[in-house]
């Protein structure tokens, strides 16, 4: 069995998105509940949040953007850049804790204290651009983690797999010129779903051409389309790239009971995805894998999705 870290902290619930917002604190309670009720907590290494060092956030985001975020947040503004991005006074601090939690997990993994980890953090990150908040995201947790692993631990090639139902525009743009980070995203087709990027012909730019890969799924295509993606596109791409560490943007909003999308992926479909990713990590990265929560809004389904996700990281049968 693997030593799996679990980043979880009550303070992640302090980010208040106001009325009628799908990205709510209850999501994390649902994640915790699923893992607790399955009796998996004793197997996990609990990792509490720590604030991120500013230099790591600055490794991805512009300083002016970070200051703007902090200022608007502290002076009581309720939205940031887009009306979607609802926030409260604590949001800046919580966003910094989200980055810090992910980096802590990465550090423990590199020190050999854990093999892999799931970071149940809020707010999510993959839509956040270098200088703009977007789609409920403020700091790009996964992108910052990739830069941290490269700059602090000398990791060369990092493979990011993003299975959130929405395209991770922020992560793509941050690494699109970078051949050392393979960004692979599978998501609902951008003609139907937010944010309208991630078309199959977006493949990176300059020296990074070929190191951005997008696999749009048409509405309603569900498990079969994802199985095809894994077998025919994703696995060959990661086998060829042979990442030294795999990072996962884990969004559970492609689920058939999630109102945020029309993809209709089943719980078992999510498990097949995750098993494939874990196998790839074992094959190329010595098992090193950090999974970070992005979207996923079905409070009813999140417990089972988180339970299976964690169980697969632990190497248990699902």
């Amino acid at each position: 069995m693997q030593k799996t870290g679990f980043v979880y902290d009550k303070r992640y619930q302090l980010h208040d998105t106001g009325d009628y917002h799908p990205e709510v604190a209850e999501r994390l309670e649902a994640v915790y509940k699923g893992i607790e009720e399955a009796g998996l907590l004793p197997y996990l290494t609990l990792i509490p949040a720590v604030p991120a060092k500013p230099k790591w956030i600055e490794a991805v985001h512009e300083v002016a953007y970070i200051r703007r975020f902090e200022e608007l947040c502290l002076c009581g503004r309720r939205t940031f850049d887009f009306p979607d991005n609802q926030m409260c006074c604590e949001t800046y601090e919580v966003a910094s804790l989200a980055v810090g939690g992910v980096l802590k997990a990465a550090e423990m993994m590199m020190k050999g204290e854990i093999d892999n980890a799931f970071c149940a953090v809020r707010p999510p990150g993959h839509h956040a651009e270098v200088n703009q908040a977007m789609g409920f995201c403020y700091f790009n947790n996964i992108a910052i983690c990739a830069r941290y692993l490269q700059q602090e631990w000398g990791i060369g090639r990092i493979g990011i797999f993003d299975f959130d139902v929405h395209h991770g525009n922020g992560t793509q743009h941050i690494f699109e010129e970078d051949a050392t980070v393979l960004y692979y995203s599978v998501h609902e087709h951008p003609s139907f779903a937010f944010p309208g990027t991630g078309r199959a012909f977006e493949k990176g730019t300059g020296t990074g051409t070929g190191y951005t890969r997008n696999y749009p799924i048409l509405p309603g295509q569900g498990d079969d389309a994802y199985d095809k993606m894994l077998k025919e596109d994703f696995v060959p791409a990661f086998d060829e790239f042979a990442p030294e560490v795999i990072l996962v943007s884990a969004g559970f909003d492609a689920h058939e009971d999630d109102d945020m999308s029309g993809i209709s992926l089943s719980t078992a479909g999510f498990s097949r995805i995750m098993k494939t990713v874990v196998e790839l990590a074992e094959r190329h990265a010595g098992g090193r894998l950090i999974s970070v929560l992005e979207g996923g809004y079905s409070i009813r389904r999140l417990p089972e999705l988180a339970r299976d996700h964690i169980a697969i990281l632990l190497g248990k049968d699902v």
Binding site: F82, P83, F194, P219, Y297
Partner: protein, 226 residues
């Protein structure tokens, strides 16, 4: 929606006495396919396209892959004036984008020169300019989500949809309305500038609208002219 705001103003032009190689060089340098031909005072007298250039090249030129000096000399003597389309159809800056779309479709051309009342060239509008304008109109360059709604063909239905969106405080990138196979219905496609569509979807369903499965719908529902 006027041409004035969508056309390319810095037009790359050529004189009637230039040679074909010069035109070819200009097109490839600027990555364009149309060169308006102008005389003194920017007066438009013709247009030359990349296809005109290719048609003017003798077969021997392609056979020798451009290496044969004798053939090159012969081509060098040809003037743009001889191969251009003289007096092309033009439009003025006050034409609308809709005018240009219909005219381009009718004439089967790739671009229209834009001239002032004295016939002086002031711009050019190409299919590419129109595409850019429509990407802008559709709002798809900005982050958002497309809804697919089936509505009765009845006065006031659109208002109900827009009211519901307004009540949810969502701004609209664009709304497309298209015919549906059922004559009494319309398919409505609002592009909403948000990721948070859960409540608006529910609200529309409560108002009695059907959310279409986008996979069962196609843009061109009408019988085609084969």
């Amino acid at each position: 929606m006027f041409i004035n705001n969508s056309m390319t103003r810095k037009v790359i032009t050529i004189g009637p006495d230039a040679d074909i190689f010069e035109a070819q060089r200009m097109m490839s340098e600027h990555n364009i396919r149309h060169l308006p031909v102008v005389e003194g005072d920017n007066k438009l007298i013709g247009i030359v396209t990349d296809r005109d250039l290719r048609s003017a090249m003798p077969l021997e030129f392609f056979k020798h892959q451009g290496d044969c000096q004798e053939v090159r000399d012969k081509i060098q003597e040809m003037r743009i004036r001889q191969i251009m389309t003289p007096d092309p159809t033009t439009i003025t800056p006050h034409y609308t984008i809709q005018d240009a779309l219909l005219l381009i479709q009718q004439l089967k051309v790739g671009a229209l020169p834009v001239v002032d009342d004295e016939g002086r060239l002031t711009g050019i509008i190409s299919v590419r300019d129109l595409l850019r304008a429509f990407i802008n109109v559709l709002g798809i360059g900005e982050p958002g989500t497309l809804l697919c709604i089936l509505a009765e063909e009845r006065i006031g239905e659109m208002k109900r949809i827009v009211d519901a969106i307004t009540e949810e405080n969502i701004s609209v990138g664009s709304i497309l309305v298209a015919r549906y196979w059922d004559e009494n219905k319309r398919a409505v496609f609002p592009y909403l500038m948000t990721n948070n569509v859960v409540r608006i979807k529910k609200k529309l369903q409560e108002l009695g609208f059907t959310l279409l499965n986008p996979m069962e719908w196609y843009l061109d529902q009408l019988p085609k002219n084969e």
